[in-house]
Amino acid sequence: MLKKKMFRDIRKNLSQFIAIFLMIMIGIMAYSGIKAYMDGMKKTSDKFYSENNLFDLNVVGPLTHNDLKTIKDIDNVKDAELKLSVNATTDKEKTLLLNFIESNNISKFYVLDGEKFNPNKSGIWLDNFYCEENNIDVGDTILVKYESMELHEKVLGKINVPDHLYDTRDSSELYPDRKDFGFAYMSTNEITEDYIKSLVMKEMNIKDEKVFDTIMLNFNYKDYIPYSSIMVDVKNKNKKYKVKNNIEDKVENAKAIINVEDTSSYVTYQGEIDEGKTYVGVFSGIFLFIAMLSIITTMTRVIKKERVQIGTLKALGFSNRKVLLHYIGYGFWISIFACITGLILGYYVIGNIFINLEMAFFEIPNGAPSMNISSYYVSLIVIGIVALIIYITGRNILKENPAETLRTKIPSIKGNILNITKKKFFKKFKFETIWNIRDILRNKMRTFMGLAGVVGCCTLIVCALGMLDSMNFFVKLQFEDLYNFDYKLNIKEDIKNNELQVLYDKYGTNTSKSLGIEIKDKNGKREANNIFVTDASNYVRFVDNKNRIKDKPNNKGIYVTYKLASTKGYKKGDIITWHIYGDNKYYKSKIIGFNKDPQNQNISMTRKYLESLGIKYKPDSLYTNIDLSNTKEIKNIETIQDIEKLKEGMAGMLSMMKTMLILIIGIAVILGGIIIYNLGILSYTEKEYQFATLKVLGFKDKQIKNIFIKQNNWIAIISIILGLPMGFYLTDWLFKTAIEEHYDFGAYITLRTYIISAIGTFIVSYLVSKFLARKVKKIDMVTSLKGNE
């Protein structure tokens, strides 16, 4: 019978219970969905890395078969493979990072279409995203050009490779340009003998092929392939550093040995997971927190409303336990159904949407959300809290004797709280103002919960929109303030001085060079970094930590980015000891200033300073404002980067972010709306008898509605005042903590965002209040007043 009562009571208070259901469901959906997406990201990559045997170390050369043998003989090395990587172009003027390999046991292909790698097969295995963007199918033939090689290759497979989840031409490109840039693999058998011969002849300074053939009688071109790297698979990953040291000692050709964890593909993907971890905590935490606040308030009040019925049941002889279990059932079943629905929707809707967005960004197969066990625990905690709240509230009522319980409890008003409102200052206020102030003072908890809910939602909206603003600001800072050029030309490594001069004459002399270095700290510990050497005048500019453009750097020392300085504890005047990869000579440089770089935490210096150290300056990049929109190829230039295209690339990333943030805003608005609605119902129910009295006294519906809406408007306005700055601080905190180590930017939120968030929050609150206020018209004075008796 009590079950019947429970279902009928729920039906009677359906809107309240629906609100509780929705709040729990949305809270759990947001939490489990974001968590499932982040865990899905992690599990997807773990599986891919492990099944496709991602390398542990990448030894950068040029390297030979002898080096390969030496590395394979090192203790704890499971396997190693040679690779020649070059930036090739296609007949469509696209760039391919072309890799020639002998075998494919390390960083194995995941073949989406076509066949497995076979060194004896003539053809090309192509980046799946690149194929999709360019409508290339297995069986098509493409032309690949590199130096003197022109290879017509049949596409044998569309692939994903574990070290190519994320590829950009260089670090100035933030978003992969899948249409114009991809990766490709071919067997080393495809490298032409002519090409290798020309390289060797150049090296030997022989111009006549006949002379070369005479000298190199047993020339086997395969022995002369200048492999660019060796991928190493280590048995015991914990002792990877030992292997690294051994390679350093034994392989002279090794210019650098890079841990997989330091490669851009790995770092970027891992960064996304790490960022996500913070977002999971913050966004889903806020969603759950504000939902729980509202649920606790609602459940407490729902049970308190049942006071007389609890007394009746007790008077009828029901045991306290039975009564408690009956009421716990209210919240228990609702929260169980809400949690299950939330978990299902979280996984299938939020998890899938988010992961699919990521999978369009990262080239990784079988991306799927993964339900994390913590989502079940959180659900159990939510159910437990709801049951506990009912238990505590019910137990307090049951402590009283039935006779007492059967009497309606008159709400206590502590005079001293309200006395303040008797002061002269308050006398000026209208009746509804003073009435609302006192109602708030009487119902501090309910008001606080309402405030917390709306503040939370306003904060989330500011944060979500603010993240977009900040990203837009970052793009402006990077591509308009720091990069003050239209085109960046990446100069070929083997360019000669006279060829360089030709470029200078045509495109100007604004150049830069990047140096891979290792910094040695006081304890001898070495860490990889890079130096940006500028001779680019104001084509590449520097900003201070307030984003103001700085004067040109001077030639007396080095500049360190603020974030690197703060991470490493560098101060102005400190000396940094460093060496260039492939050269064991150490240099000591004094820090003479700091600069802000939103995407690279490194060291900068001028060409003159570099040369003062005795290091030859050979630029790798040339900056120009000459219009190159119709230029496809420049001699001795590997790639031409158009700044506008770089910006467009960012737009792609921003659009993915936008979709995610719109979802978050959507959830925030819905949850906010439900919380306001729910607390509005509570507040309305508690005031209904007073409204009925006012109605009897002759107050018009409109007057009563205004009283009700006024209080909710105040709460919304105060919440907005609190929510706007909180939104800023949350965004700033997210950017400063959650994003990868090499980024440095904080929140930059526009006035427009604050206005939209404020108006949006207010409109949601106002509409919900207005909707609830419609009830005033339907107040049945007789029933309301009787009910109160």
Binding site: I410, P411, S412, I413, G415, L418, K422, F431, I434, W435, R438, D439, R442, Y689, Q690, T693, L694, K695, V696, L697, G698, F699, K700, D701, Q703, M781, V782, L785, N788, E789
Partner: protein, 233 residues
């Protein structure tokens, strides 16, 4: 005295589920201006329903309810609101004063609904609550709270004062004080209608109406109303 209130064949039907039930079943009655009327009847007789219809809190299913020249049974919601604001004062068994407004504020509340309100200080004085003007209802006794309710009702200078068990929650002594105040109002030409179970109160009335099963059983003028001080329960 002329008939100020006149009910003609008033029916009020409630529908509960599929069942209909007449709380008032064709009531006819007349009340003169300035009379102190006591409506008696057992529980469920239809006393409160009658009061609600007279107060414009509910609508009759059929029949006419004339208050002065106006048939309030024909009033729409807007007209009823105006009627409640200007012409009727309500006094409840459980006072229904606004808990978050002080005594003074509860009384002055009426200024928000009518322009014909009395001077609040005088009203406070008339119910002897001047000393408590700044207190919240919670700080007052039941009798004092009921006096606040009366003060609020008379503040608008109503034509009719409707009282639903006004002494129901009070002890005898306090009840007598409340009745005195009500009598005072009827002496100043306000028609006071008291609905009660308590037949002893009927002795002070100018008119006694008895209701049973939604019908008027008797409607008699009390030719010799007792002095309130003589009433005890």
């Amino acid at each position: 005295m002329k008939n100020f209130i006149e009910l003609k064949n008033v029916v009020k039907t409630y529908v509960v589920g599929e069942q209909k039930f007449n709380a008032l079943d064709g009531i006819d009655l007349s009340i003169n201006i300035g009379e102190l009327v006591v409506v008696l009847g057992p529980s469920g007789a239809g006393k409160s329903t009658l009061l609600n219809l007279l107060g414009g809190m509910d609508k009759a299913t059929s029949g006419s309810i004339f208050i002065g020249e106006d048939d309030i049974a024909k009033f729409n919601d807007k007209e009823l609101t105006r009627y409640r604001a200007n012409d009727v004062g309500f006094i409840f068994q459980f006072y229904n004063v606004m808990p978050t407004l002080t005594v003074d504020e509860n009384i002055n509340l009426i200024k928000d609904v009518t322009n014909t309100s009395k001077d609040s200080k005088e009203v406070l004085k008339s119910v002897e609550l001047e000393k408590h003007a700044d207190k919240f209802p919670q700080e007052l006794s039941g009798g004092e709270q009921q006096r606040v309710s009366i003060a609020r009702a008379i503040m608008k200078n109503p034509k009719v004062l409707l009282c639903d068990e006004p002494t129901g929650a009070l002890d005898s002594k306090t009840g007598v004080e409340v009745l005195k105040l009500l009598k005072k109002q009827s002496d100043s030409d306000t028609t006071v209608i008291i609905v009660t179970h308590n037949s002893l109160i009927a002795d002070i009335a100018d008119r006694i109406i008895k209701i049973k099963n939604g019908k008027v059983v008797s409607n008699e003028v009390n030719k010799h109303p007792k002095n309130i001080d003589e009433v005890k329960w």
